[in-house]
């Protein structure tokens, strides 16, 4: 079970949160101008990183606020949390084979 430090409420159990997937995916400003490939890339393609991954969570059964987290997807360590709209913190890249 993950222990997730909500930036507003402090550390809480995973069951209080809902998952929002990869963070920092920006909706294209002019979708109608995109090629099919670029649209598919926005819509479907993911980084699915093994290592440090930037993702969104919402504290559904708490403050109900969204935030970003940097988590190692292999070890499940939550390395940082930061507010929506903030730039991700500088973290050491972790590479696993």
């Amino acid at each position: 079970m993950l222990l997730i430090p909500c930036p507003y409420c402090g550390p809480r159990e995973e069951t209080e949160f809902s998952y929002g997937g990869e963070a920092h995916i920006e909706r294209p400003k002019q979708p109608e101008a995109l090629s099919d490939e670029a649209w598919a890339d926005y819509l479907f393609m993911t980084s699915n990183t093994k290592g440090v991954f930037l993702e969104r969570w919402v504290h559904s059964h708490g403050c109900r606020r969204w935030f970003n987290a940097a988590r190692d997807t292999l070890t499940n360590e939550v390395l940082a949390v930061y507010e929506m709209g903030d730039k991700p913190p500088k973290l050491e890249k972790r590479t696993y084979v």
Binding site: E14, S18, L74
Partner: protein, 417 residues
């Protein structure tokens, strides 16, 4: 040619206390180059190697594996085999696989312990019931055996299920695929490995991939921990790591990896002789030949490569199992573990060419990987040998996410998640 396994070889080796069995496959050092290098020594990769050699006469093949054979998702699933998928494309692919399963023990001369004990999918609500009716009709149109069971017939088929009224998960009916069942997970990897090895395929374990040499958009070689291996073609069969290797090769996939958990109980006498799946409550159960109950759970929602999951998921699953089978309430669970499932947005696999010339991908099987092992290897071998897909996997292309031709099996395919 290797010695065949038979009752006579068993007796002969019994006389020497089973100390003289020949090795099932060689462990060669990699050659400098191969026609085809398959990455991933799980069931899919080994099946692909076998069918490349047997069906297409391509024997200068290496299977390279980061750990040991069948140590990934092949050894971590709940071994259910069925083909009752909703959409035509999936039904044809999985049915082809099921037909291969039916002859596999004989073909490989290796007992894969395929047991067609029947797979039952329960309906707990009116909505489930309608979905079920639709799927049964679709299955029958595609020549997949599928039948409807009333609650009374459910009770006859699986007497230990609790159908007293008032439960949290009332059973309103079920679909039954009698040809479905279970198989031995390790045996499928070992059987294909032995058969492929006999046809000349090199199987190289403990050989992680570190990168690719790609020149002018075409893959030339694979960089591994055991040196550079030149390759005419490179085939990825690394479900659970597809995105990682795709990144090394410079393209992106629509795949996300989730932990998917399973658990086994203490062994008991035979008590349940079929597979019961409940789509709505994320639980499925069967009993292994050893006697332990094999129970599968839903996926953890977050992306994860940890090969383990959270207790809330198993708790929900076991709550449902206890509700349906109250006699299991005091069973002790011995082990639980997780696999890493590749999941596509449409819950269908990708067996396809890639943007890199000479490189192929087989992944994104989600929760359907084990049952599809023979069929997956068969169509993948065809795709690699001919540089174009077989009609059975033509729809499972990577570019379906660009064209919009999705095969949406989410919730449609009797899958539990």
């Amino acid at each position: 040619m290797k010695s065949r396994y038979s009752i006579f070889s068993l007796l002969r080796n019994a006389l020497s206390y089973h100390e003289n069995w020949p090795e099932a496959w060689r462990s060669p050092e990699p050659k400098p180059s191969y026609d085809v290098v398959i990455i991933g020594g799980g069931g899919h990769g080994l099946a692909t190697a076998y069918y490349l050699a047997k069906e297409h006469g391509i024997t200068n093949v290496a299977v390279i594996e980061r750990g040991w054979l069948g140590g990934g998702n092949t050894g971590r699933n709940t071994t259910i085999v069925r083909s009752n998928y909703l959409w035509d494309e999936s039904a044809h692919l999985y049915e082809h696989s099921l037909k291969l399963w039916e002859g596999l023990t004989r073909e490989l001369n290796y007992n894969v312990m395929f047991s067609q004990r029947g797979v039952m999918n329960l309906a707990h609500s009116q909505h489930d019931l309608r979905e079920l009716g639709r799927r049964i009709a679709a299955n029958r149109l595609n020549g997949v055996d599928s039948e409807f069971l009333t609650p009374r017939q459910v009770k006859q088929f699986c007497p230990i299920i609790d159908l007293r009224e008032g439960g949290r998960y009332p059973v309103l009916g079920a679909s039954l695929q009698r040809r479905g069942g279970t198989a031995r997970h390790d045996a499928i990897a070992w059987g294909y490995a032995r058969a492929a090895d006999a046809l000349g395929v090199d199987i190289i374990q403990e050989c992680p991939v570190e990168g690719f040499r790609i020149e002018k958009g075409r893959v030339r070689a694979v960089e591994t921990a055991k040196g550079t291996i030149e390759a005419g073609k490179v085939a990825l069969a690394v479900a659970g790591h597809s995105s990682v290797l795709a990144e090394l090769a410079g393209f992106r996939l629509p795949i996300v990896c989730h932990p998917l958990q399973a658990l086994v109980s203490e062994p008991v006498k035979p008590v349940i002789d079929c597979v019961v799946m409940s789509n709505a409550v994320h639980a499925y159960i069967s009993q292994s030949d050893k006697g332990d109950l094999v129970i599968g759970a839903g996926v953890d929602r977050y992306i994860g490569y940890s090969q383990s999951g959270g207790l809330p998921v198993t708790e929900e699953t076991l709550a449902a199992i206890c509700e349906l089978f109250p006699l299991f309430r005091r069973m002790r669970m011995m082990r639980c573990w997780g696999g890493t499932v590749d999941t596509c947005p449409d819950a269908s696999p990708i067996v396809s060419k890639t943007p890199v010339e000479g490189m192929y991908i087989n992944g994104g099987w989600g929760t359907g990987g084990f049952k599809s092992t023979p069929g997956s290897g068969w169509v993948y071998a065809h795709t690699i040998a001919h540089d174009e897909p077989h009609p059975l996997n033509a729809a499972f292309k990577l570019d379906r996410f660009t064209t919009g031709y999705l095969i949406d099996e989410h919730g449609a395919a009797a899958v539990a998640h």
